[in-house]
């Protein structure tokens, strides 16, 4: 996925359209020749291009309903323009701050607690001497990644109800039984802890690969210098995986306003909307359940634009800081 700075950008590098008509006609001549030579290749990729146009670019065009009062009977083109009305309504509604804050906070806490977890697991796995035990732990830790979200949410719900197993423990230690999923203040911890449970093992794969790439000689040199195991981790292991950590961190920051809505939709309920409702779950509810097409499309478009800016910014920072970037 990542590309180093030296590599040519993927697009446009071969196409030069100069000011002169000579060059332009030359370009079209070459294009014509290319289309002829590679005819069968373009024919092969045609279904893929059509797929992208229909299912990715048509919705982008369809997003202009955010600036219209869309009525299904009139279609996208026939519906009247309303300019930025839906955006204004959204920014001035009381929902705006709630869902903006929730999106940011859920994402931020996931980053704060969920990002280091697989790194720590990978470092600890790396210290295990018994290869077989290590592999067993790895295989088991991947398991939750394959369990469907519906089942994960179902288990969370079952374990957190008032007479569920978690409340049995709370009572055992002298606490009061609480309906955990009905408590707004507990939603984020439940979401983030279960998220760590789901992804800690899967997330560690990439760091384990980076760890296995560290040269054994570095460890030997450190040992000769008298570094104990702990010092080796600080001075050899962590610097060795630092580039991977930085890349993963930048990728995560680019996704900061892009919270996985499926688990939220499965777990939240009106009593936890205050802390649980994020931008995309709001779009889902208002758009697909209450059919406010244009308004929800405006909210969704706002989210897409914010996400896009964040990715561009993260990539720019990455290119500056680490000389590694997505493009």
């Amino acid at each position: 996925m990542q590309q180093t700075r030296q590599t040519q950008p993927q697009s446009g590098s071969r196409v030069y359209i100069g000011p002169g008509t000579d060059r332009r006609s030359d370009f079209f001549k070459r294009l014509k020749r290319d289309l002829f030579i590679n005819k069968s290749l373009y024919l092969l990729v045609l279904p893929v291009v059509i797929f992208y146009i229909i299912f990715h670019y048509k919705p982008m065009y369809g997003a202009i309903i955010a600036f219209k009062q869309y009525a299904p009977a009139k279609g996208v083109l026939g519906s009247p323009w309303v300019g930025f009305d839906h955006f204004v309504r959204f920014f001035s509604s009381h929902s705006f701050w709630r869902i903006f804050r929730n999106t940011f906070l859920i994402s931020f806490y996931s980053l704060l607690f969920g990002f280091p977890a697989p790194i720590i697991l990978a470092l600890l796995l790396n210290e295990l001497k018994n290869e077989k035990f290590k592999r067993t732990v790895q295989t088991i830790s991947y398991l939750p990644h394959f369990i469907s979200l519906v089942v994960v949410a179902g288990m969370i719900k079952d374990f957190t109800v008032t007479d569920g197993i978690i409340n049995d423990f709370i009572e055992l230690f002298g606490g009061e039984r609480v309906p955990i999923l009905q408590k707004a203040e507990l939603f984020r911890p439940v979401y983030i802890i279960s998220g760590i449970w789901q992804e800690i093992g899967w997330g560690s794969i990439i760091y384990l690969a980076a760890l296995s790439g560290i040269s054994q000689e570095l460890y030997e040199a450190a040992m000769i210098d008298g570094a104990g195991r702990f010092k080796q981790v600080i001075h050899v292991t962590i610097p060795g995986i630092a580039p991977t950590i930085i890349i993963m961190l930048i990728l995560r920051i680019g996704q900061l306003m892009n919270v996985g809505y499926e688990k939220i939709i499965l777990l939240y309920n009106p009593s936890t909307y205050e802390t649980a409702d994020v931008i995309s779950s709001y779009v889902y509810r208002v758009g697909l359940l209450e059919f406010s097409w244009s308004y929800s499309a405006a909210v969704g478009l706002f989210n897409s634009v914010v996400n896009f800016i964040l990715v561009i910014a993260a990539n720019w920072v990455s290119r500056r800081v680490t000389e590694t970037s997505l493009w």
């Binding site: 196409v15 290749l41 092969l44 919705p59 394959f146 519906v150 089942v151 288990m155 499965l266």
Partner: protein
């Protein structure tokens, strides 16, 4: 010194590390074991039980019998299998076409077309316009609505392209000299040499399809066409006892539904869990291909 002795601190650390790993194993496996034990348990006893469950309470298969007698679940299973088999086949075909194109050299429009694909990873029109697009095509309320709009996952296509790039050019060049066209090169040379990445793709897409519920719940209104996960959602999260017991008029519907719930989870999850350990080396490979230069 022949051998470096471990210091006391190191020994303590190693012990704690092993304990921590055992903790990871327990918290990962226990929820699934709990579900397994509960599914074999006697419903009435399960309802009264408090605390950890270390073995099934009693042992019977009543819950499973009810699950397999429930027409909704059986149909859901069939729908999901259709979506996985047909969907993944089409996924692989389309993804390899795109990946093959992206891995070619000396093609003038490769840059713009690749950009057309990759740009969609960073910007989208949003959920609502996407829904309206699919609705306008008239495929909602069919199983195709869970297949056709999701034919290609761009990230997977890039993984596949990276694998295709690793195939030596000389093989393709000699095939070209023999007069082979692009389709022949793809079908006869590139795909047979990419079995590992295809295994990864099949696994990724199959898990995505097997576990998918969101768009199915949005697009499909006809209950006969619900895939398994949508039914599972009704049972587990929306407390639809009718979906659970298939409308049978049981006196103790609540008690029965408790263990049926767990049996349904088992039936929906075990197939995936049976497959993944064997494919482990492949999907680890997939994560790695995806992470290196693209």
């Amino acid at each position: 010194m022949a051998k470096i002795k471990k210091s006391a601190g190191e020994i303590i650390f190693d012990c704690f590390n092993i304990l921590f790993m055992i903790f990871i194993i327990v918290i990962t496996l226990y929820p699934m074991l709990y579900v397994a034990f509960a599914s074999f348990s006697d419903s009435a006893r399960l309802l009264q039980h408090r605390g950890l469950l270390l073995k099934p309470l009693g042992f019977n298969l009543n819950a499973y019998k009810l699950v397999f007698k429930n027409p909704m679940i059986v149909k859901g299973y069939g729908n999901t299998i259709f979506i996985v088999v047909v969907g993944v086949t089409l996924n692989i075909m389309m993804t390899s076409l795109g990946a093959y194109f992206m891995s070619r050299k000396n093609v003038m429009l490769k840059g713009p077309i690749t950009f057309l694909f990759v740009f969609t990873m960073f910007f989208s029109g949003g959920m609502v316009p996407f829904y309206l697009t699919v609705k306008d095509l008239g495929i909602t309320n069919t199983l195709w609505s869970t297949i056709i709009p999701f034919l290609i996952n761009t990230y997977n296509m890039i993984i596949m392209r990276t694998a295709f790039l690793a195939i030596p050019d000389s093989l393709e060049e000699s095939a070209k000299l023999d007069g082979a066209g692009h389709f022949t090169i793809l079908a006869r040379i590139v795909l047979p040499l990419s079995k590992a990445v295809i295994a990864v793709m099949v696994l990724y897409y199959a898990v995505e399809k097997w576990n998918g519920w969101f768009w199915a719940s949005v697009f499909i209104r006809n209950r006969e066409l619900y895939p398994l996960q949508v039914i599972l959602r009704e049972i587990l999260l929306q407390n639809d006892t009718n979906a659970m017991t298939g409308g049978i008029n049981a006196m103790d519907q609540e008690a029965i539904s408790e263990s049926v719930k767990y049996a349904t989870i088992m039936v929906a999850t075990v197939p995936v869990l049976c497959v993944y350990p064997f494919l482990q080396k492949y999907f680890v490979k997939g994560v790695l291909i995806g992470s290196v230069k693209g």
